[in-house]
């Protein structure tokens, strides 16, 4: 067989190059994920998979405010106004969401001390106490946790 009177070795060469090219294109098509290059040089579906496979654990302060607006109002008056509820009370559990009778964590003095124990590494503007020199180790005798400057 002859194309345009080309010598057979050239024809074979052309066919070979063509076959390599086609098999490359076919392999690339079959191996490239569907959503590749949706956003960039990666599989676009990885984004939506990541979002759908992970569910938020922390509910956030706004979610607590839906059921406890009064507590948030009290909190906003004191110097703990920027604190997130879950910082002291722990993660809002599914049990608490289903049945409010399953109470959230009741903060202990250890939770206060975690932030307020004096340390040379803490910034000077932050209120700190040396626990063993402080009046009492039961914080809530003198401080309302939601309004720390007020006495109960």
């Amino acid at each position: 067989m002859r194309f345009f009177n080309l010598p057979p070795q050239i024809v074979r060469l052309i066919l070979l190059i063509f076959a390599i090219l086609v098999s490359y294109l076919v392999a690339r098509t079959l191996l490239t994920p569907d959503t590749f290059r949706d956003y960039g040089f990666f599989r676009g579906a990885a984004l939506s998979e990541h979002i759908s496979q992970h569910k938020p654990v922390f509910a956030g302060k706004a979610a607590c405010g839906e059921r406890h607006p009064d507590v948030l109002k009290t909190l906003a008056k004191g110097s703990h106004k920027n604190l997130s509820c879950e910082a002291c009370h722990g993660v809002v559990s599914q049990e608490h969401l289903k049945d409010p009778a399953n109470k959230m964590l009741k903060p202990t003095p250890q939770i206060c001390v975690r932030c307020h124990e004096a340390s040379p590494s803490r910034p000077a503007w932050f209120k700190q106490i040396i626990v063993k020199d402080h009046y009492s180790d039961t914080c809530f005798e003198c401080h309302l946790p939601h309004q720390p400057n007020e006495a109960p």
């Binding site: 938020p56 340390s119 803490r122």
Partner: protein, 257 residues
């Protein structure tokens, strides 16, 4: 015979064309209410506001189900203690000591350095620096790590082969090989939270607003990011590496690496 070969080739060529056509007309994979190209997330950290309570490191482990062992962290806190210089040493500062017991998760134990020997001490929260030119993305041999258009750097666990190149490449030590999935893991900027309109867990839980998080493409009124950059002198970690991090630090000491 020639016609047969031609036909086969034509058929094979039609396959990629059909694929390309299908892709053009099929729907994109983005979640219906979130468009990654319409956001650009940024994190700012104020060293002078961090009190080292470790709630962020704790919250991150809870939120992202990070392995419990004390050397797997997506965010952690480092304590820097700079000692006073020895007498007649002609230096302004002495030895620098850095520690991070259990990533600062349970708070920090009192330091072994007596208070009168400390020149100054502070806490530095660390996380993925969200580099614009991320070394971890460049070295991944299978393209499993990628920069999303909204600024997070994520790992595709179905493609990661766990070779660990990215862990060595990250100049900030922000990656680890998960013993559970045997793939590289890192801070995802709580991608599952920010796409649902929530803040990342560490930002949500921080009691002193040492962490500020926001969207550059959708600035809100009294934008905390704008205020942060306006009020503070900001810097990034290891700027000489040219990674161009998008995690900005305020009041950073030169000893922080």
């Amino acid at each position: 015979m020639l016609a047969t070969i031609g036909g086969v080739f034509a058929g094979l060529l039609a396959l990629p064309a059909a694929r390309a056509l299908k892709k053009k007309f099929s729907k994109t994979t983005a979640p219906s209410d979130y468009d990654a190209s319409k956001h650009k997330w940024l994190m700012c950290l104020d060293v002078d506001k961090c009190i080292g309570c470790g709630l962020c490191a704790d919250a991150c482990k809870t939120e992202n189900h990070v392995p419990e062992a004390p050397h797997f962290f997506r965010t952690w806190i480092e304590r820097y203690i700079i000692k006073k210089p020895a007498p007649n040493s002609i230096t302004l500062r002495g030895e620098v000591m850095v520690d991070s017991p259990n990533g600062g998760r349970g708070g920090f134990p009192p330091s072994l350095v007596p208070r009168d020997e400390i020149l100054k001490a502070f806490f530095v929260p660390k996380l993925c620096n969200l580099c614009e030119a991320s070394p971890c993305t460049q070295v991944c041999p299978v393209g499993a790590t990628f920069d999303t258009p909204d600024g997070a750097v994520l790992v595709d666990p179905t493609y990661c082969i766990g070779c660990g190149f990215c862990i060595q490449a990250c100049p900030y030590g922000c990656r680890f090989l998960s013993p559970e999935t045997k793939t590289a893991e890192k801070c995802t900027l709580c991608y599952h939270r920010i796409t649902r309109g929530l803040k990342p867990a560490c930002v949500e839980i921080c009691p002193t607003q040492a962490r500020v998080f926001g969207d550059l493409k959708n600035p809100i009124e009294d934008d905390p990011l704008q205020a942060f950059v306006h009020k503070n002198k900001v810097n990034t970690l290891k700027p000489h590496l040219g990674t161009n991090p998008r995690v900005l630090y305020a009041n950073l000491d030169k000893e922080v690496r």
